[in-house]
């Protein structure tokens, strides 16, 4: 009994240390964001919440000139949502179609093509960022949502996951559907997509977070302030703070950081059941 207690306490102690280690910075950012700029300048980072919560967040989100020169926090939030959602949906659609072609159509180059796609996993965006920029700029798509999202939606990871999933779907289902007169498109929409529900959910969640956190690409793709995403905004706000002759508005920078963290956290919390299911379950 004593031994058991000791083990319980020690494991929990380790867990608690881990949780503190991960969440304390977030907490400090939040607590600091609720203080007046004078307090922060005088006393540094704050551990306990202050009294300026509503004021700071209202200014960041809704007041023109409150955070950037002209753009509102809500506009950046909207831009980030469009990028995150478009990025996630685009990746799922493209990679499902690619995987469908690779698994179900016996064309000559299916296997080598799959490995070519797979190899692109080794090439991060940064490697091809200049040619990608050239293409998008040449097409006149700078500062558009289309130009921001489309160059990013090819996904080797997604294609790989869907390929593995489709390969585990029994062949008899395809054969039964063929006898039932389903077309290639019909089989995909009526059978494969509903079967992949949990898998789609899991990939949507991962990709939303990845898209939301994109930094470098939106940074070079957007030149106008009204197209900034939250993640870009955070970077810019520090720059503005450094330039201005007034009191640095650190509380607003922290508030923006907290706002940028919230949506991905909410998505993961709300959909975590689906997420876990999609990764472990193989009910067919």
């Amino acid at each position: 009994m004593k031994d058991w207690n000791w083990r319980l306490i020690s494991t929990h102690a380790i867990l608690i240390v881990g949780v503190l280690f991960m969440s304390l910075p977030v907490w400090v950012a939040f607590a600091t964001s609720t203080h007046a700029p004078e307090t922060i300048l005088r006393e540094g980072l704050q551990l306990w919440p202050g009294s300026h919560f509503l004021e700071t967040y209202r200014e960041v989100l809704f007041v023109e000139g409150g955070v950037m020169k002209s753009v509102l926090g809500t506009t950046m939030l909207k831009n980030s949502l469009i990028l995150g959602i478009g990025f996630a949906i685009g990746k799922v659609v493209i990679s499902m179609l690619a995987a469908y072609a690779i698994v179900y159509f016996r064309f000559r180059l299916a296997v080598p093509l799959f490995w070519v796609i797979f190899m692109t996993l080794l090439l991060p965006l940064e490697v091809r960022i200049i040619p990608s920029y050239e293409v998008v700029a040449g097409l006149g798509l700078l500062d558009t949502h289309f130009g921001l999202i489309v160059p990013l939606i090819a996904s080797a990871t997604g294609t790989f996951f869907f390929r593995q999933f489709f390969r585990s779907v029994p062949d008899e289902l395809l054969e039964a559907a063929r006898l039932d007169g389903a077309t290639a498109w019909g089989f995909f929409i009526d059978i494969l997509v509903p079967l992949s529900k949990t898998m789609i959910a899991a990939i949507l969640i991962i990709m939303f977070v990845v898209g939301w956190n994109q930094y470098l690409w939106p940074l070079i793709m957007t030149t106008k302030e009204e197209n900034y995403t939250l993640v870009i905004g955070i970077k810019q706000i520090y720059q503005i703070l450094a330039e201005g002759g007034e009191l640095p508005q650190y509380q607003k920078a922290f508030a923006l950081t907290i706002l940028a963290t919230l949506p991905p956290v909410l998505v993961v919390l709300v959909f975590q059941n689906w997420f876990v299911k999609g990764l472990v379950e193989s009910e067919k």
Partner: protein, 358 residues
Amino acid sequence: MANVQLRGVRKTYPNGAVAVRGVDMVVEDGEFIVFVGPSGCGKSTLLRMIAGLEKITEGDISIEDRRINDVSPADRDVAMVFQNYALYPHMTVRGNMSYGLKNRGMPKDEINRKVEEAAELLRISDFLDRQPNQLSGGQRQRVAMGRAIVREPKVFLFDEPLSNLDAKLRVQMRIEIKRLQRRLNVTSIYVTHDQTEAMTLADRLAVINDGKIEQIGAPIDLYNNPASLFVASFIGSPQVNLLPVTFDGSRLINGELAIDGFSDLPQSTPLVLGIRPDDLSQASHGQFTMRVDIVEQHGADNLIYGALHGITNAEEDGAEFCFKASHDLLPPLESSLSLGFDASKAMVFDQQSGQRLI
């Protein structure tokens, strides 16, 4: 309803493996044909070629005199029941049964009417709004059959549909399939490796071995009159007793054993004598003496297994004879039993070619 003709049908896979080597046959209108054979004999491939799921390498298949080699599976007017049911897991029973009709552009109320009729016939009306994972094995089997029936196809194809069920349910569903086929009178082709299923279901039975039809005919004819050693040993449970012998001009010889009553057999080649367990009987001076090894009591009858006296290969696996006796014959183990048989019911095969000689 339609007849199905196969002419010189062959299947060679891209890797060179030959699955079907020349099959010619006609399945008559409304007939229930069973393909039976050991696993890997090509029976499933043959069925899948009729369904359109495998390409035909050579030869022709026609349904109702229409050549269907290049017709897509959906347009062949055949329906198939798969071994693992292949129900769409995310659709309800109703969805599963109506999917094929929907793809054919049938109006909704007609689909509903047909689905409900078929469900009634199969006694699954109560489950129409459930999903397959909420059903038992037997119910899923019925849904799979329902999906085939609603389409009112010209030909039913069954690919070992009962092999995932437990023994009791298998017998039940076997009877149900037979009854259903009688009632709908649709040409049916059924693949199985289970000889009991084959014997009980078939109007005609095609025994397939190594990609060829070994023999085709009414089940009881195949049982009584097998054309080859393969058919004789495949059909019948318990299996036929086989004894390697040679012919010396008047008797069949194995070791010290000599059996009278045979003539006109080749003397130079090794032969095999085959006797069904139920053709053996107890006799005071029979041809064989059996040393009782095991007695299986099946209730109505007893199966008595034992080695024969005097033969050279008595100790080998599979050399034991089986004697089907009535339930009141219960000889003590290790005792000797004198067995006789009617020479007219015995079968003699050429050991090399497997051909039936007598």
